[in-house]
Amino acid sequence: MSRPVSRASIIGALLKKELKAYSRDKVYLILTLVVLLLFPVMFNFLPDSVDENLTLAVSPSISSMIDGAKDTFREMGATEAQLAELDNADFTEGEEGLALVEFDDAEEMQRVIDGKLEAWRTEDGDIVLRDKEADEDKPEDAEKVNLDIGIAFPESFIADVAAEKKGVTVTVYSDANVPEEIQGAMESFVREAAYQLAGKELPVTMADEDSLVLGEDRAGDQISLKDKFRPMVIFMVLLMETFSMASLVSTEVLQRTVTSVLVTPARVSDFLISKTIFGTFMSLGQGLIVLLLVGGLTADNWSLILTTLLLGSVMFTGIALFVGASGKDFMGQLFYSMLFTIPLLIPSFSVLFPGTAAVWVKVLPTYPIIDTLVGAMSYGATWSDSIGSLAYATAWLVVLFFAGLFQLKRKVQTL
C-alpha cells in the first residue's frame, strides 16, 4: 500500500527531474552560460553617447578672418564698440550640430582631410597634428578627431563679402566617402553665411526655433546605442531560452521518457504544469540575471519591467512547448525553433531604427513585449502608458501558451 502523494510534491519531483535533464544537456547548458556571460560583456563595449555633430574643419581661424575684416568694417562706418562685439561673437551659435576645428594653414587642413596628417585633440582642447607617413608618435592624452570635410575661406572672406566684392571663391575639401547630402549642405552653409555677411535677409519669415521642434527636443541628449540595446539584450535572453526549453521537451517526447513519467502517479496536467513552471522560471531567471548585469531598473519602472519579463517568459515557454512537441527529431525541432524565433526577433531590431515600427511588425506577438521594455527603460513610460501594449501581449500570450500546451498534450497522449 502506498500513501497518497500530493500534486505539489509530484510537480516538485518533476521539476527536480527537469533541472537534472537541463544540467545534462551540455550543448544548451554551455550556450546558456555563454549567453549569460557574453551578452552583458558585449553590451559594455557599446557606445554610451551619441555623436550627432558634423565635425567641420575651417581655415583660416574665425578670429583671424574677423581681424582681417576690421579695417573694411571701419571704412564702412562700424564703431570700435561694434568691432569689439565681433571678437566675442560665437559664429557657430545657432548652428547646433556643427563642431568646428580651426586651422591657420589651409594646406595643413587639406592634408588632414586627404588622410596624410592626423588631427588629435588634447585635453586642453588644442589640436595637434601627427604625420602618419613620418611615423611620428601619437600624442599622449589626446583623442583623434575624424575630419573628412573642411572649408578653406580666403583670408579676406568676411571683408570681401561684406563689401560685396565680386568673384569670391570658397573651397570645400572633402573625402570622397563623405555622403553627397553633407557635401551639399556644406556648400549651402557657405552660401548662407555669405548672404548673412552681405546683409541679405532671408526671403522667408522663420518662426522661432522652439515652435519648430515637434516632440521632446533631444538634441544633445539622444538615446545612445547602449540604451537602445539594453531592452534588446534582455529580450534576446528570453528568446534564447526557447531553444533549450524546446530541446528538453523534444528529447522527452522523442525518447518517450514522458510515457515512463505517466505510469507514476503523475498526470499529464502535472507534466504540463511542471514544464510551464520550469520554462518560465529558467527564462525569467536568466532575464533577471542579465537585467541586473546590464542595468535599467529604476524605482519608477521596476514593477512594469518585471511584469513584462514575466509575460515574455510565459509567452516563450508556450512557444518552446509548441516547438518541442512539433519536431520529429533534433534537426526538426531546431528547424521549428528557427522558424518561430526568427520572425519573433524582428520587433527587437525595430528599436534600432528611428520612428514608428511598420504595421506588420506591430502585429507580431513579441512587439508589445519589446515596445514596453523600450518605453519603460528608455522613455520613462509608466503603467498607464504601457497598459495597451501589456493587454495586447497578454492576448498573444494566451493564444501561444495554450497552443503550446495543446500541442504538447496531444503529442503526449499519442505516444
Partner: protein, 354 residues
C-alpha cells in the same frame, strides 16, 4: 570506392534531401538573409536624413529635392499627418509649401516658412535639412550668391555596405549548404541506422562519404551562385566565377564531412557548428570593415574561399589574381581527406563493435 555506387547514394540523397529541415534552411537562408540585410536593414547601414513635404503648389523646391542624392524624401498630402510623423521621429523634418509659395518668395513677400524639426532627429540631420532648404529658398528668390563654392574631393569612393555584406550572405550559403547539409545528412544516417544498413550493402564508407561530399559541393555551388545573383554580384566572367565557387563549395563540403563524421549525433553536430561559428565567420568581418588589418583574415580557413569569390565575382577581377588563394583552398581540401578518412575508419570500427 565505386563511382557507380557513389552516384546511386548521391541520387538517393538528392531525392530524399528536400525532406530534411536542414535542406530547407539551406535553400531559404540566402534568400532570407538577402531580404533582411539588403532590404529591411539596408537603411541602418546608410542612414539618410528624412524629409517630409506637403506641397500644395507644385513648388520648384520639391522638384529640386526629389532630384537630390542622399535625402530620403516623403511626399504627404496632409499637414497634420506630416507633423505627426515628424513628432514620432518617422521623419527628421517636415516642410509645408502652400499654394503660391514660390510666387510669394519671388515677389519678395517673405512668406512664412513652415519647417518642422523632429525632437529626436540628430543635430547633424537638422543642419543638413535646414541649410539645404534655405539654400533652395534663396535659389528660388533668384538672387546671385555672393560667393562661389568649389568642391574638391580626395580619394576614391569606398564600396557601399550593400556590397560589403555580400561575403556575409555567401558565407551563410556555403556554411548551410556546404557544411551543415552534408554533415547533418551523415549524422542523421548514423542516428537512424541507415548508415549501418548502407555499409552492409556492397557500398563502402568511401562511397558514402564521396556521395555526401558531392551532395554538399553541388548544393553549396548552386546556393552560392544563387546568392551572388540575388545580390547583383555575379560577375560577367561567369566561367571563372563558377570555378571559384566550385573550389569554395568543395572545401566547405569537406569541412562539413569532417564534422559529420566526427559528430555522434545531431546535438553534437549543432554544437560544433555553433562553437566553430565565430572562427568560420571571422573572415567576413574584414570585408565589412576594410580598414582592419587584412592579414588577420588570412588566419581563418574560409578566407581562402571567400577572397576568390570576392575578387572574381563581386569585384569582377580575373581568376589569375587569386591563383594563390585558390591553391591554398584546394590544398586545405586535399589535406582534409586523410583526416576524414581517419575519423571515418574510427567510426566504422565503433559501429562494428556495436
Amino acid at each position: 570506392m565505386t563511382p557507380r555506387l557513389t552516384f546511386k547514394i548521391l541520387r538517393k540523397d538528392i531525392a530524399l534531401g528536400p525532406r530534411s529541415p536542414i535542406f530547407l534552411w539551406a535553400l531559404i537562408l540566402p534568400f532570407a538573409l538577402t531580404l533582411i540585410l539588403q532590404v529591411a536593414f539596408g537603411s541602418l547601414f546608410n542612414p539618410e536624413p528624412r524629409l517630409g513635404i506637403v506641397d500644395d503648389g507644385d513648388s520648384q523646391i520639391t522638384a529640386q529635392i526629389e532630384g537630390m542624392e542622399g535625402i530620403d524624401l516623403v511626399l504627404l498630402d496632409d499637414v497634420e499627418a506630416l507633423k505627426t510623423q515628424v513628432e514620432a521621429n518617422d521623419l527628421d523634418a517636415g516642410l509645408v509649401l502652400p499654394s503660391g509659395f514660390d510666387a510669394a518668395v519671388k515677389n519678395g513677400d517673405r512668406p512664412d516658412l513652415q519647417f518642422y524639426i523632429g525632437g529626436e532627429s540628430y543635430a547633424s540631420n537638422r543642419i543638413i535639412l535646414s541649410v539645404t532648404t534655405l539654400d533652395l529658398v534663396r535659389d528660388l528668390e533668384g538672387s546671385d550668391a555672393p560667393v562661389t563654392v568649389e568642391v574638391v574631393n580626395f580619394g576614391t569612393v569606398g564600396l557601399p555596405m550593400s556590397v560589403r555584406l555580400v561575403p556575409v550572405i555567401v558565407f551563410y550559403a556555403l556554411v548551410m549548404a556546404g557544411i551543415f547539409a552534408p554533415g547533418s545528412n551523415l549524422v542523421e544516417e548514423k542516428e537512424h541506422g541507415t548508415l549501418m544498413a548502407l555499409l552492409v550493402s556492397p557500398a563502402k564508407i568511401g562511397d558514402v562519404l564521396a556521395a555526401k561530399w558531392a551532395l554538399g559541393t553541388i548544393l553549396a555551388s548552386i546556393m552560392a551562385v544563387a546568392t551572388l545573383v540575388l545580390n547583383n554580384a555575379l560577375g560577367s566572367n561567369w566561367l571563372e566565377v563558377l570555378v571559384v565557387v566550385l573550389v569554395a563549395a568543395s572545401l566547405s563540403s569537406m569541412v562539413g564531412l569532417l564534422m559529420g563524421t566526427f559528430a555522434k549525433d545531431s546535438t553534437i553536430m549543432f554544437g560544433m557548428i555553433k562553437g566553430l561559428g565565430i572562427f568560420l565567420f571571422a573572415p567576413t568581418l574584414f570585408y565589412i570593415f576594410p580598414e582592419w588589418p587584412q592579414w588577420i583574415a588570412k588566419l581563418f580557413p574560409l578566407y581562402w574561399i571567400l577572397e576568390p569569390i570576392w575578387v572574381v565575382s563581386v569585384m569582377g577581377g580575373s581568376i589569375t589574381e587569386v591563383w594563390f588563394e585558390l591553391a591554398v583552398a584546394i590544398g586545405i581540401t586535399i589535406a582534409l581527406i586523410p583526416a576524414v578518412g581517419f575519423v571515418a575508419r574510427k567510426v566504422q570500427t565503433q559501429m562494428a563493435a556495436g
